[in-house]
C-alpha cells in the first residue's frame, strides 16, 4: 500500500522522459496528436474534431489554400495555413482548396482554413505545456 504513490510517481516520471518537444511537433503535424501522446484522449478527440471540422468546412466552402507570399496579407495567410501541419501538405498534394476565391463563401472558407491552423498551433502549445508540467 505504501508503495502505490511511489509507483504512480514513477509512472509519471516515465511519461516525462523522452523528447520534450514531441507532443508539440506531433500536435502541430496532426491535430490532437499531442494530447493523445500524453493520454488526454477526450481533450485530444475534441480538439481534433474541432480543428478537422473547421478545416473541412473551409475546404467545402472552396476556401483558398495559400501557396505563395506576394504581400504581407499573403504571408500571414500562408503562416496560418501552415499551422495545419500535414493537413495543409496533404491538401496541397491532392489539389484541394481553390487557387483564387471565386464564390462568396470562398472568402469565409479561406478564413476557416487559416483559423483552423491557428487553433491547431494553440492546441499544440497546450500539449507542450502539459508535457512540461506548466499546465495540469
Amino acid at each position: 500500500m505504501a508503495t502505490a504513490p511511489n509507483n504512480t510517481a514513477a509512472a509519471k516520471q516515465d511519461s516525462k522522459q523522452g523528447f520534450v518537444y514531441l507532443p508539440l511537433i506531433a500536435g502541430w503535424l496532426v491535430p490532437g496528436a499531442g494530447h493523445f501522446l500524453l493520454g488526454k484522449w477526450y481533450r485530444g478527440a475534441l480538439l481534433a474534431a474541432s480543428i478537422l471540422g473547421m478545416f473541412a468546412m473551409g475546404i467545402a466552402m472552396q476556401g483558398k489554400l495559400y501557396s505563395g507570399a506576394h504581400d504581407i496579407l499573403d504571408i500571414l495567410g500562408l503562416v496560418g495555413d501552415l499551422g495545419n501541419g500535414l493537413l495543409y501538405v496533404l491538401s496541397r498534394a491532392i489539389g484541394l482548396g481553390a487557387d483564387q476565391a471565386q464564390v462568396t463563401t470562398a472568402d469565409y472558407g479561406t478564413r476557416f482554413i487559416v483559423v483552423a491552423g491557428l487553433l491547431n498551433v494553440i492546441a499544440a502549445v497546450d500539449a507542450h505545456n502539459l508535457r512540461t508540467g506548466r499546465k495540469a
Binding site: L47, S50, M54, T105, F112, V115, I122, A123, D126, K135
Partner: protein, 56 residues
C-alpha cells in the same frame, strides 16, 4: 450555408479549442467554452444589427 450558420460553426469550433486550452479543470473548460461561444455568436449578432442600422 448561411452567414449565420457559418458564424455558429466558427464560434463552436473556436470555443471548444479555447475552452480546452485556456483552462485547467474540465468544469472550468466547459464554462469558458460556453462563455466564448456566447461572446462569438452574440457579438456577431450585435455587430450585424449595428451595421444594419448604420446602413439605413
Amino acid at each position: 450555408m448561411t452567414h449565420f450558420t457559418a458564424v455558429l460553426f466558427f464560434a463552436l469550433f473556436a470555443s471548444v479549442v479555447f475552452g480546452i486550452t485556456q483552462r485547467e479543470t474540465p468544469k472550468r473548460m466547459v464554462h469558458y467554452g460556453i462563455y466564448c461561444f456566447v461572446l462569438f455568436a452574440g457579438s456577431a449578432v450585435v455587430l450585424s444589427w449595428v451595421m444594419f442600422l448604420i446602413a439605413r
